[in-house]
């Protein structure tokens, strides 16, 4: 279980996150919804210290790590937080000068000091898992957007994180490629990965999410099960958001 409390972040005068609390159960899929500019991506980036919050606490309840951002956390604890999670970016951010397999191997080889042979074998296994074993030696520019994003997912898995973070993983994809990526994500969910997903894919939230959070203007408007939010919510802002997005 991961306890996140009172995350605050401002860029200059712009208060993007105004104190967000969230509990992530181990093995659960948390989907974060919200209009653009609501702060949901910033919140996700705070979870692995790509943005450092001005305030708030992230605590892993197995006692392995607690980071209190209000108390000037050390660089070491920020790196420890970063190593807990794998990140999947909206624009993939694959390394263009490395083949698919090399993209997966870089973290394990350089950061975790694994051998080349071991990293390569692991890379091939992960590529097989996302259905791209035959693309191991191709460069990103030789692959479709959907294939690149699945390699992005495999790269996040390669560092063996506790937690997977997805930042609008299908937003940059052509509509016909979205399903490939969502299928891979559903597979990971069924394998018991702990996932936090920022997305606009309501169908994914409906089918896969254990917990749905709606963020607007830097605060949590409502959270609960998918059914609770999509079918039974009486909160006017939730209703308004769903109406906009389902049109």
């Amino acid at each position: 279980m991961i306890q996140i409390s009172n995350i605050q972040k401002a860029f200059g005068d712009n208060r993007v996150l105004k104190g967000i609390d969230l509990t992530i159960q181990k093995g659960s899929v948390v989907v974060i919804l919200g209009p653009s500019g609501s702060g949901k991506t910033t919140f996700l980036r705070c979870l692995n210290a790509l943005e450092v919050p001005d305030n708030g606490v992230i605590a892993f309840d197995d006692g392995s790590l607690t980071v209190d951002f209000g108390a000037h956390p050390s660089k070491k604890s920020l790196i420890a937080l970063q190593r807990k999670s794998g990140m999947v970016f909206q624009s993939y951010n694959l390394f263009p000068h490395k083949t698919a397999a090399e993209n997966l191997m870089l973290g394990p080889m350089i950061a975790q000091k694994k051998s080349k042979a071991q990293s390569h074998e692991q890379a091939l296994q992960l590529l097989a898992k996302v259905g791209l074993k035959d693309k191991a030696d191709l460069y990103p520019f030789q692959l479709s957007g959907g294939q690149q994003q699945r390699i992005g997912i495999a790269r996040a898995l390669a560092i063996e994180p506790e937690l997977l973070l997805f930042d609008e993983p299908t937003s940059a994809l052509d509509p016909e490629l979205v399903q490939d990526v969502l299928a891979t994500m559903k597979q990971l969910a069924s394998e018991g990965w702990t996932m936090v997903v920022v997305t606009h894919e309501i169908s994914f939230a409906r089918d896969v999410a254990d917990h749905v959070v709606l963020i607007e203007d830097g605060v949590v408007v409502e959270e609960g099960s998918a059914e609770q939010l999509f079918e039974r919510s009486t909160h006017p802002r939730t209703r308004a958001f769903l109406q906009r997005i389902l049109q």
Binding site: M87, F95, L106, I110, A111, P140, R155
Partner: protein
Amino acid sequence: MTALSDLLALLPFMTPERAQIVIDSFWPMLKAGIYYSIPLALISFAIGMIIALGVALIRIVPRASLWHRVIYRLARIYVSAIRGTPMLVQLFIIFYGLPSIGVKLDPFPSATIAFSLNIGAYASETVRAAILSIPKGQWEAGATVGLSYLQTFRHVILPQALRVSVPPLSNTFISLVKDTSLASLVLVTELFKQAQIITARNYEFMLVYTEAAVIYWCICLFLTFIQGRVEMRLDRYVAR
């Protein structure tokens, strides 16, 4: 050889004697180019690139400590001073000026120092711009797979930045090859110095200096060819 001099003699302005001068001066000049001009350019470029990488990195890394801000200032002053003063003047200061404060250097090392400092300053700007052209997402992707700042720089950013900077750096290198002719003024017997020695004997300025120019041109054509090959190799991961 007689066939070649007969052929040359057919050109306008040529006489059999002049044709012979062209042939006789070719090898000494080429030799001076191979022994002095090209090594001077290669060594200076190698040292200059090391300086350039260091300076570019100093100017890009977030400036956290006071210590770092001091080094950053010094790096900026270095780039500004080198770019703002003529290379010939720098050469003269190092070769003719330094001995009066007790630092005596031979011609070749003097020229190497001056050219390295120049390449370092100019190339640092090229490398810095190339590094800044790599999207921020690449730094973030490096961090999220567990790489430190320097590891990300070394394995993710630098290879991409070098690819971007090959064309401008090739330009710098070709300029450097031609600028080595300035070393003749601090007594390095490179290609152009050799041309001056030959003309001092026979007064055939037009002939010998033009021949020297042609040899420089051929060297640069060869370097341009190499640049093309390097770009092709580095572009293998880019869609065309």
